[in-house]
């Protein structure tokens, strides 16, 4: 749609941004206008006085980017160490950990047993089919499945957190099964990584 007011809106956004930048201590919230609702003729009164509030022109944005920490000489980061392998893949509609991922799960179980202060987050993922919240629950099922494997290998619950990203980390718009397959997985992430 052609919008003749676009430039003006951009300008007002810029002005708002400049105001935000310039006057930190100045309250930005314009008080909701007290709106007089005068009837223009005697029989025309339809509503009591109302205010135009919830003014989104004062919406303030919050930016939330964290910092990832890295460390050298870390077996978890060594590409030659099996501990650097972090993905467990699943069949369609399944939460069963397949045999091919057994050595990797065992390696992480051993590391966690030897490093009792280490904590791991198991992040479940799904492909894009279905609703976001439901897929969040399905991904959770897969992370719980990997957790149970670690539990059986002696890892304590206190060292494991199971979460899910659902379909949020899925490769967008998969056209085939080979693509969808990459999305049905649990990622093993250590705390402070």
């Amino acid at each position: 749609m052609n919008n003749p007011t676009w430039n003006t809106k951009l300008l007002s956004t810029l002005v708002l941004a400049l105001l935000l930048a310039a006057c930190k201590s100045m309250p930005m919230v314009d008080k909701p206008a007290a709106v007089e609702d005068k009837s223009l003729s005697a029989q025309a009164v339809t509503k009591p006085a109302e205010a135009v509030s919830a003014d989104t022109s004062v919406v303030k944005e919050v930016v939330v980017d964290g910092n990832a920490t890295t460390s050298a000489n870390n077996p978890l980061k060594d590409p030659n160490n099996i501990l650097s392998k972090r993905h467990v893949y699943f069949d369609f509609d399944s939460d069963a950990v397949k045999a091919e991922f057994r050595p990797m799960v065992e390696a992480h179980a051993k590391y966690l047993s030897e490093n009792r202060s280490a904590k791991v987050i198991l992040q479940g993922n799904t492909d894009e089919r279905g609703t976001r919240e439901y897929n969040l629950s399905l991904g959770q099922r897969r992370s719980v499945s990997v957790k149970k494997s670690l539990n059986l290998l002696g890892v304590q619950d206190a060292q494991i957190e199971t979460v899910s990203f659902g379909e949020e980390k899925a490769t967008g718009a998969c056209a085939d099964e080979a693509c969808s397959k990459q999305n049905r997985r649990v990622d093993v992430v250590y705390e402070n990584e």
Binding site: L14, A21, A33, V35, V62, V63, Y134, L136, S137, R141
Partner: protein, 423 residues
Amino acid sequence: MPILRLTVFFTALLVASLAHAALEIEISGGSAQQVPVVIVPFFQTGTSADNISNIIAADLKRSGLFRVLEIGGVSSRPADISQIKYAEWLALQAQAMAVGKVETLPGNRLNVTFQLADVLKQTQLTGMQYNIAPNQLRTAAHKIADVIYQKLTGETGNFASHIAYITKANGRYALQVSDADGENPLTMVSSKEPIISPAWSPDGNKIAYVSFEKKKPIIFVQSLSGQRSVLASFKGNNSAPAWSPDGTKLAIVLTYAANSQVYTINADGTNLKQLIKSGAIDTEPTWSPDANWIYFSSDRGGRPQIYKVSSAGGEVQRVTFEGTYNLSPRLSPDGKSLAMIRNDGGKFRVALQDLTSGQVQVLSDGAQDESPSFAPNGRMILYATRTGEHGALAAVSADGRVKQHLNEAGGDMREPAWGPLIK
């Protein structure tokens, strides 16, 4: 903190240049029911950014219930009901005509007056006056459109309301709020990690949402003025927030170390209670408008279906029986029907179930439609769809007749939530 302020500056710039929503309106059916109206261009002094009459006319057209008549054949432009020469307007066969003006007042204020006339009876139907700041002109226009809508249809309008949605652009996710017509998009929060499930508080001043910024889903509550706090950050997932109708509580979904389960929690984060216990997935809770029930989706029967339970807990009752896959329940504001996402022969679509008769009508026609959300008056359902590889927003009337698309050029929009009317 100059760096933080610069970030705000550049992000605001980005939002203004990339996220400007463009509305493409597609209306099907229902034309016989359209009310013919005339919106005379308001007399407007000064250099105001927005043309108030155009905003009012666009709102009315978009509803699908009005035909806004061309007035090129009439030369007069009355700004007050006393100036209307009715004989000039009779030939247009309008049911009603709106006139008004926007005047600049001292102290950077605007005075907006508006009157609606019955053209045949030559009488005033209603009139309003608003004393506003210049940046409230669009909201005043939407309120006037709501007054016209209410006067001529007998129903409450939706125009003076906000929508929230998530965008994904350049690897960043953002929770945005705009007017219901997609104009004035503003970013409430942005992050490198996903943001999902925005939910408006009933007073329209806050939004609860799920952010993955800490490597796991955590529920935040943020006011429109920027106060942000954690509502739920328990072990495991924290997701699917749904406000109770009185705004004092939310239903949420937690996992701790097992499957998703529904809890309730006070809006201040206290008094966490598990609502129902099951070994299955229970998620996507939503309150009935009378607050007596919580509807949710569950795979307790093998395939995902919608169930309900008293908001005090207790016995669970199944609600959907048709189809093998029903998710994302949302109750209409009158509590009489249930919108949901149904797998309709491999296509995920918005469907509406009459809770009295049990009859279901599929309303949308996409392949991956998600996140149904009722307009405050229940007449429209906003949802997420896909056009090509991009996510877009669309709306369909509850009778399936009127369809609208809201597209953002080159961007990705999803997870819409229609907020309450602006008070």
